[in-house]
């Protein structure tokens, strides 16, 4: 009995205060297992992409950049779609869970889109001979990045939580339609960027081993995205809780000051 009591009243590892205990950060058993699987996947993916897969007959070794470029842009699209979905559900049901999901997803999508552009430039220099060209695919991707930055900027405009969430959700609705424009840009307009390669089932344009490597890389980057999303969601949740606690504390202080002032005046 005594040992049970002492076990239940041990200090919280994060705050050092006796009472109920919680995790020390954004991690949990699930994310640690996911992280371990992701690390193993990264090792396998890197071996396949950098050692095992063959050179491309046109691009040579530069094709190895594709094994990060394509999965990263794919997950950037997923992140944008998730933000738009979260925005729709927030506007419909006022769900805080979906609002936080949209925000966390948008930040990761922004980083992945920025990486896509920079990695694409690094690939473009040896392949096209230029770092940048105002091509339909590149320009629409740059616009997607600006839209994501706009979404994150709107979330930082000082306002109460409901107003901030509503404003950002309206911007979030624009993300998925823009993803469709980016994805279809190589079909709708004349473009220097290559067209559909992986999803072209009628005339596959990719070597078998390259296709396997690309699929593995897609799975690994999806795992990285999932790990980041879970942790970023929990961080955003902590930020929301802290804001709410600080607001409660400020209101209580103002009430106490007001009560003291009223008492001294009477």
């Amino acid at each position: 009995m005594t040992s049970q009591l002492s076990a239940n009243s041990r200090p919280d590892p994060a705050t050092g205060v006796d009472g109920p205990t919680g995790p020390t950060g954004t991690g949990s058993r699930t994310t640690r297992i996911l992280g371990l699987i992701t690390l193993v996947g990264i090792a396998i993916g890197a071996y396949l992409a950098l050692v095992s897969s063959p050179q491309d007959e046109n691009m040579g070794d530069v094709v190895r950049i594709m094994y990060i470029h394509v999965p990263i842009v794919s997950m950037a699209y997923v992140g944008c779609a998730l933000t738009s979905l979260g925005s729709v559900v927030y506007l419909w049901k006022k769900s805080q869970w979906w609002d936080i999901t949209a925000a966390a997803s948008a930040e990761i999508a922004m980083i992945f889109t920025a990486l896509t552009l920079v990695i694409g430039m690094i690939w473009g220099r040896p392949t096209w001979g230029v770092w940048w060209v105002w091509d339909a695919r590149l320009t629409s991707t740059a616009m997607l990045l600006l839209l994501l930055l706009g979404y994150l900027a709107v979330r930082r405009i000082p306002a109460d939580a409901a107003t901030r969430s509503k404003r950002s959700a309206i911007v979030g609705l624009l993300l998925f339609p823009n993803v469709i424009i980016v994805n279809r840009s190589v079909t709708w307009w004349r473009s220097l960027h290559q067209g559909t390669t992986i999803l072209n089932t009628l005339k596959p344009k990719i070597h078998d081993q390259m296709a396997v490597t690309l699929v593995v890389a897609m799975v690994v980057v999806a795992l990285i995205f999932a790990w980041l999303l879970i942790h970023r969601w929990r961080l955003a949740w902590l930020e929301e809780q802290l804001d709410a606690h600080e607001l409660d504390r400020a209101i209580a202080e103002r009430r106490a000051e007001s009560a003291a002032a009223t008492g001294s005046a009477s």
């Binding site: 919280d12 994060a14 705050t15 009472g19 109920p20 205990t21 919680g22 995790p23 020390t24 950060g25 954004t26 991690g27 949990s28 890197a46 950098l50 040579g60 070794d61 530069v62 190895r64 950049i65 990060i68 470029h69 990263i72 980083i111 990486l115 920079v118 990695i119 690094i122 690939w123 220099r125 040896p126 990285i224 790990w227 980041l228 942790h231 970023r232 929990r234 961080l235 949740w237 902590l238 930020e239 809780q241 802290l242 606690h245």
Partner: protein
């Protein structure tokens, strides 16, 4: 620059950006956890 130079640049940049972002999330999460009551950390 050789093809492998461009490959190394792209892979290194991706690794650095993702590692820095992941570390930032973990460190900030640990710092905020100390200021939020355990009952509000629901993933325990």
């Amino acid at each position: 620059m050789s093809d492998w130079g461009y490959v190394a640049m792209a892979w290194s940049l991706t690794t650095v950006v993702l590692v820095v972002y992941a570390v930032w999330i973990i460190v900030r999460g640990r710092a905020l956890s100390r200021r939020v009551p355990p009952e509000d950390r629901r993933w325990a």
